[in-house]
């Protein structure tokens, strides 16, 4: 405000209104639009979806070996049999929830926590496990080994 020019109450009031209204509109629009613009930017981590996951690449695994992969929020176990076929199961032991592993020497799935074993179809063969492991579907897409949940019957 200039000192030499006595401010008229009317203009200073109009200035205040302009300041508040204009500033308010700009600031509020900015604070509404900024989150929306950020929301529109696709995140770096692409959502793969909950029902399928790329568990391995072709040629990555040796025959007669197993690999733990992340499936959603739980671990899964992918097994490459000696005959070149793949098999995927839930890797969470049905007894107390430890992570199971493939035993190439026994050709069985083994849980180290209480010595439980499952066969390659996920059936609980011996030891404490009360229920079989969930079996997933495996298929090949290009050179990717894709594991997906079995479709609801």
């Amino acid at each position: 405000m200039c000192a030499d020019q006595a401010p008229q109450p009317d203009t200073s009031r109009r200035r205040a209104i302009e300041l508040f209204l204009g500033g308010g509109i700009l600031a509020s629009l900015a604070s509404f639009i900024y989150p929306v613009l950020r929301f529109l930017v696709p995140p770096a981590v692409v959502d793969l979806g909950g029902d399928e996951v790329v568990a391995s690449k072709l040629g990555e695994m040796k025959p007669n070996s197993g690999k733990i992969f992340r499936f959603g929020s739980r671990p899964g176990l992918l097994i490459l049999n000696s005959d070149g076929t793949y098999r995927a199961l839930s890797a969470t032991c049905t007894h107390l929830g430890c992570t199971v592993q493939y035993r190439p020497d026994l050709r069985e799935i083994w849980c180290a926590c209480h010595n439980g074993t499952y066969d390659l179809n996920g059936r609980n063969v011996s030891g404490p496990p009360p229920r079989p492991l969930t079996v997933f579907d495996v298929h090949q897409r290009g050179d990717e080994i894709v594991v997906s949940r079995k479709r609801e019957a």
């Binding site: 509020s28 929020s73 010595n115 404490p128």
Partner: protein
């Protein structure tokens, strides 16, 4: 007979006659199907002689078509007690306790016979029984020891899979305790009688009864059933290894294995006890109550230093996991989404469990490897929790900025309206 000596009264007599006629008719019609005069009488007998059709029908043997005669002999088709229970008809009466294993074995040790009912049922129970403490004492003339019917019950023998069976996993401990917890009964044998009481407060009982895990061990899991005997001082770890495979493997390579063998100490039991096994805690490595190491080791020696190293390692990871849990809980209660870190916490806990298993190598460096893996995960989770709180503060700052904008707008509008309407 007592029943025939009732005073003559027309109506009851008539109904009695009618009933008798009905029974006669029914038994004639049913002849060759299920005539069992034994049960008709014994269902009305008092006390120990009572066997009702309801009770016997529960018996697996009855369900498979066996009758009283199969074990007791005699003639079940006759309603004349003298004929039905005549020695000539092969009646054996009450089977002597000493003969029971042999009697059961006459079928159960015969693979060809058992195969007709259940081809996968084992037929070595009698052989095993002969090797058991029970069997040996029986052979030596002690009739107080358990024979088949003491555990399996009699006349209502159910298969072990039936939850009501006395030998169903859930009921086994109770069944054994009927004799083994009876101090007066066990007095002459000079063995403890507190096994059942101890088992009832053990982690294995908790797993079986509270958590319903039927694979959890009960008496017979470690002692055997038909061949029941203590596993033997130097073979304890073999028994435990059936479920605790890693621990046993590590133990057998450790220095303790040789030392315990040399001192004839019972392996796992030395630290974990036998019947009253508690969920192990890190306090077992401590020097306070529950500590086990210092019972043998001297303070300040090489082993004591290893103990201190392992214990501090485990305490460190345990503390780190708890800190991360707390941070995540705080973030969650302020509405932040930290489910991924929550999941990763399980992995940290897995590492801690693994480290606790690795204790059985008694090597601090190996335990440290597992602990460090867990520490890394726990630290990341702690960071996730803290980041979430920082993010929460950012949100509040953002909200504050937004409020300022809104407040400006409201003041501006209000002033404008006032000007408009003045």
């Amino acid at each position: 007979m007592a029943t025939l000596r009732i005073k003559f009264r027309p109506l009851p007599a008539a109904s009695f006659a009618g009933l008798a006629g009905f029974i006669l008719l029914a038994s004639c019609l049913g002849y060759g199907q299920a005539v069992n005069s034994c049960l008709d009488c014994h269902s009305a007998q008092p006390g120990r002689l009572e066997v009702t059709p309801e009770k016997f029908s529960q018996d697996i043997h009855a369900q498979k078509g066996l009758t009283c005669v199969s074990c007791h002999g005699g003639d079940a088709t006759s309603y004349d007690p003298d004929q039905a229970m005549s020695r000539k008809a092969g009646w054996k009466g009450k089977v002597d306790r000493r003969q029971i294993p042999q009697l059961c074995g006459s079928c159960h040790s015969n693979p060809a016979y058992i195969r007709q009912f259940d081809p996968s049922l084992r037929t070595d129970q009698l052989d095993q029984y002969h090797t058991s403490v029970h069997g040996k004492r029986l052979a030596a003339g002690d009739a107080k020891v358990a024979v088949c019917i003491d555990c399996h019950s009699v006349h209502d023998i159910r298969p072990p899979s039936d939850p009501r069976s006395t030998v169903n996993p859930v009921n086994v401990a109770k069944t054994c305790s009927r004799c083994h917890s009876d101090a007066a009964y066990m007095k002459q044998y000079g063995i403890p009688t507190d096994q059942f009481a101890k088992y009832n407060i053990s982690v294995h009982h908790d797993a079986m009864v509270v958590r319903g895990d039927l694979s959890a061990p009960t008496c017979t899991t470690c002692h055997g059933n038909h061949g029941a005997a203590p596993p033997g001082v130097d073979k304890v770890q073999n028994v435990c290894a059936n479920c605790h495979a890693f621990q046993a493997q590590m133990y057998e390579k450790s220095t303790h294995y040789k030392a315990f063998q040399a001192a004839s100490l019972p392996g796992c039991v030395v630290c974990h006890s036998n019947h009253g096994i508690h969920l192990p805690s890190d306090a077992m490595l401590g020097t306070g109550p529950g500590g086990v190491c210092m019972k043998c080791h001297a303070p300040g020696d090489r082993c004591d230093r290893a103990r201190v190293a392992i214990l501090s390692n485990l305490t460190q990871l345990d503390g780190a996991i708890k800190d991360a849990d707390q941070a995540l809980h705080l973030a969650e209660s302020s509405g932040m989404e930290v489910s991924e870190a929550r999941l990763a916490q399980d992995q940290a806990r897995d590492s801690l469990t693994k480290a606790r298993v690795t204790i059985h190598t008694f090597q601090p460096t190996l335990v440290d490897q597992d602990v460090q893996a867990g520490m890394k995960i726990a630290a990341a989770n702690l960071k996730a929790g803290k980041d979430a709180m920082v993010e929460r503060n950012h949100r509040r700052i953002g909200l504050g900025i937004c409020f300022i904008a809104i407040a400006m707008m409201l003041i501006g509008l209000w002033l404008y309206i006032r000007k408009l309407e003045s």
